[in-house]
Amino acid sequence: MHTILFVDDEASILTSLSFSFKRNYNVLTAQDGHSAVRIFQTASTPIHVIVSDQRMPGMLGVELLREVKVISPATMRILLTGYSDLQDVISSVNVGEVFRYVNKPWNIDKLRETINQACQFSDRIQLLRESVAANKTVATSLQPRRETHLLFVEPDMISRNALRALFGGDYTVHLAATAAEAFDILQKKPIAVVTTEAFLEEVDGADFLAIIKEKYPDISTILLTDTQDASLAIRLINEGSLFRYLVKPFRQDELKSSLTLAILQHYSSKENPAPNALSFESPSHQPDVSGQGTSMYDALKSVRERIQQRKTY
């Protein structure tokens, strides 16, 4: 039986969620961040999923999730919040690195499915971690930087040139103005990190990142945009497994550190493949690593269809 921790300052929420899940899960509850952290620190069995509110006195949800990530990396982090302030959503990605972002009021069936899936993810990650620990293969960050390929998808030429100037010296940088160009490059080059604008001419940035995640699960994705749209950000988290959401005008150090982290994540997940949510839910589609013969529009169509059919958030 998996263990779930619900954190909310509203007792009635905890009662309600407990009632829904306690028949199938080992349910723990906490009314604030600090007690949640204590539960993690004292837990004898792994906690597979944490579902936390964002706005709580004493400690914000994303802060709690950041601590949980350190204490218990295999715990899947879900944010369940009453109001989607863009800043909250962005920090849930960048700080909490959440697995899913769920708005209140929730759909209990979808939440059940999501938590179910999260538990299985947690199991697999735990397994991987154990095998990694056993084999002691810690090879991250050993790759020479020049052999790291970065792809920037940016419609604006000036921004493209700026990005090349910023990273061209350290990494092998590829630039694309459109999703089609990017798709072409992705099929030919071993890209580690894709940094993209939210709105590309032909496709929605969220869809684009979803395709990338499906076809190349190892690639880390960063959104670099001047579009401040909370619902888009939520889609990017839930559908595109976004690694970072950065808002233009960006700070150089912020972008650089985000990229470094994204590269690290790429290499670690390459060595220890993490499950892809979409493939996990409908595993019939195997990632086409060779990439030959698949048009972007076919991929887009299939991704959209499968997102529609999703039972989870």
């Binding site: 009635s12 009662t15 309600s16 006195p57 009453g82 009021p105």
Partner: protein, 591 residues
């Protein structure tokens, strides 16, 4: 068009002056001639007077000469008588000498010019006579006088005895001496010629008088001619002035007619221009109306966006506030639905059991009971007890949602466009409830309410004021480096005579002194671009102003800020459109 309204005005006045000079040039000439003639006549008059005087003098002298010649012959006669009678004539000789000298000098003066003494002893200078007939007379007089003169001279110069002889003796006795004879002759001659002399002098005087009158006549003729000429000239100039006046009149008439037509033209032009102006004006008015409309619209949009901005925060809080109970109520309902499904199984089993008991055989009943066993054993009473709790909490959650909706309704008071009496303590409470989610992690709210009488106001507008001040206060207590920092928000109300005082104090960052005077200005904001319209406090100010109240602010950087609102208990309804109506109108516009 930069052209002056009357382009001919200046030219016309210049032309007029020029023409004036040209036109009156001949009249001026006439005037000059008249003046010249008149002064000529005057000079002539002077000349006449002068020559008359001179003629008079000459006539006078000629008269004296005549008198002298008379005297001379008389004196010689007396001397002769004296000599004949043996009396002394010495004195008479002396007298004769004087007369002789005087006569001689006058004679010379008349012929050659010179200075002579008049009878009254005045010395006058006379010019030699130029008149021929007068000169001829003078010549004769001189001829006579030359003969006469020697005789007289002889008498004067001769010895006294001879004188006796000469005067008293006969010619025979004197025959021995030639001189004596001559003297005698002379004496006789003198006696005889004195008459001739007298006559000749008479003639001269007469001639001189004639000459004078002749000259006067000449001068008078000239004067008359001049006067006639003057008259003619005068008439001519009058005629000239008359004609020029007439022509001028004609021209003026012409000119005025021209002016009239010009005026007509100009008037027409003016009318056109005026029509144009009216047209332009109308267009302008339309344009102004359009622009005003646009301005109003954009103002309304700004006010709207400010409202949206403050509403945005409120809605964020409210959404959270509502979504939380909604979340668990919805979840509970779903769960309770499942519970009810389980209960229906029991119900079905119960009905089946009951019916079997009534109608069925004991064997049937036993089978039903056996079948019930699994259902009963699955029964978890704790589950149903919890279900009761779910109901309770759902009810509580729904009540919370209901209260929120009521608060929201109270807050907006959309159904109260008119002024109403409201308890401002309640209004503050409602606003705090609305803003609860925004406030709860930022400030601790302290309420220090006094007893307030109802205030006549627009409650929804005052709520907007309170919300703005309260959220500002909560934001002021935020600390970027510490998301869990809590400030204190104090709401204080009291009554002061006919006023109600509301104070909103925070323990936040405070307002810099240089910003303090500007915070009620529209668009003044210290928030980063995009996070505030800068209209919030200006709207607050306007609303309070329209309620006839006052708002003031005190602040210390790092310590906190206090906004103080004074509202009169009786609001004077201002003539200006109330903000609510203004907003209502503009929002209709912007739709």
């Amino acid at each position: 068009m930069a052209q002056p309204a009357f382009p001919y005005e200046d030219n016309a006045s210049k032309k007029f002056q020029f023409r004036y000079l040209k036109r009156y040039r001949d009249i001026l000439f006439y005037a000059f001639l008249i003046f010249f003639l008149a002064s000529g006549i005057l000079v002539m008059n002077f000349l006449v007077a002068d020559s008359g005087k001179k003629d008079g003098e000459v006539i006078n002298i000629a008269g004296r000469q005549r008198m002298l010649s008379e005297k001379l012959s008389k004196t010689i006669g007396e001397i002769r008588i004296s000599a004949l009678t043996g009396k002394s004539y010495e004195n008479q000789i002396l007298e004769l000498q004087d007369i002789y000298q005087e006569f001689n000098s006058v004679d010379n003066a008349l012929r050659e010019g010179g200075t002579v003494k008049t009878s009254d002893g005045k010395a006058i200078t006379i010019e030699p006579l130029t008149d021929d007939s007068a000169r001829a007379i003078l010549k004769k007089v001189n001829g006579v006088w030359n003969g006469y003169k020697e005789s007289v001279h002889l008498i004067i110069e001769s010895k006294p005895e001879l004188q006796d002889t000469l005067l008293a003796g006969s010619v025979e006795t004197m025959g021995e001496e030639l001189d004596s004879l001559a003297l005698l002759q002379t004496a006789n001659f003198a006696a005889g010629n004195s008459e001739v002399m007298l006559n000749m002098m008479e003639t001269l005087t007469k001639r001189l008088a004639d000459m004078a009158s002749e000259r006067v006549n000449t001068y008078q003729t000239i004067q008359v001619v001049g006067a006639v000429l003057l008259l003619i000239l005068f008439m001519m100039s009058i005629w000239r002035v008359g004609t020029s006046l007439v022509s001028q009149e004609v021209e003026i008439e012409k000119y005025s007619k021209g002016l009239e037509s010009l005026v007509v033209t100009r008037t027409a032009q003016l009318e056109t221009a005026q029509a144009d102006l009216v047209h332009i004006n109308e267009n302008l008015e339309q344009l102004v109306e359009i622009r005003t409309g646009e301005l109003k619209e954009s103002q309304a949009q700004l006010i709207q966006s400010e409202k949206m901005a403050s509403l945005g925060q409120m809605v964020a809080g409210l959404a959270h506030e509502i979504n939380t109970p909604l979340g668990f109520v919805l979840n509970n309902v779903c769960e309770l639905h499942d519970v009810q499904k389980g209960l229906r199984q029991f119900l079905d089993r119960f009905v089946l059991t009951h019916n079997t008991m009534l109608n069925g055989s004991p064997a049937d009943l036993e089978q039903v009971v056996v079948e019930n066993e699994s259902t009963v054993s699955a029964l978890n009473m704790a589950f149903y007890e919890e279900a009761d709790q779910l109901f309770d909490e759902s009810k509580e959650g729904l009540n919370r949602i209901k209260d929120l909706v009521v608060d929201l309704k109270n807050f907006s008071r959309l159904d109260e466009a008119m002024m109403k009496e409201a308890n401002l303590n309640d209004a503050l409470d409602t606003t705090v409830k609305i803003a609860h989610n925004f406030l709860k992690h930022r400030v601790t709210v302290v309420k220090d309410y006094g007893q307030l009488p109802p205030v006549k106001c627009y409650p929804s507008q005052l709520n907007q004021v309170f919300l703005n001040l309260i959220t500002n206060a909560a934001q002021a207590c935020e600390k970027p480096d510490d998301p869990h920092a809590m400030g204190t928000l104090t709401l204080r109300t009291s009554q002061e005579s006919d006023k109600v005082i509301i104070e909103v104090s925070d323990t936040g960052v405070g307002i810099a002194p240089e910003h303090l005077s500007r915070i009620f200005e529209p668009f003044f904001t210290t928030k980063p671009v995009g996070s505030g319209t800068g209209l919030g406090l200006s709207i607050v100010y306007k609303i309070i102003e329209q309620h006839g109240g006052k708002i003031s602010v005190e602040s210390a950087v790092g310590k906190g800020t206090t906004f103080r609102i004074e509202l009169p208990l009786v609001v004077q309804v201002k003539r200006t459109k109330l903000f609510a109506e203004e907003l209502a109108n503009t929002s209709i516009h912007s739709n």
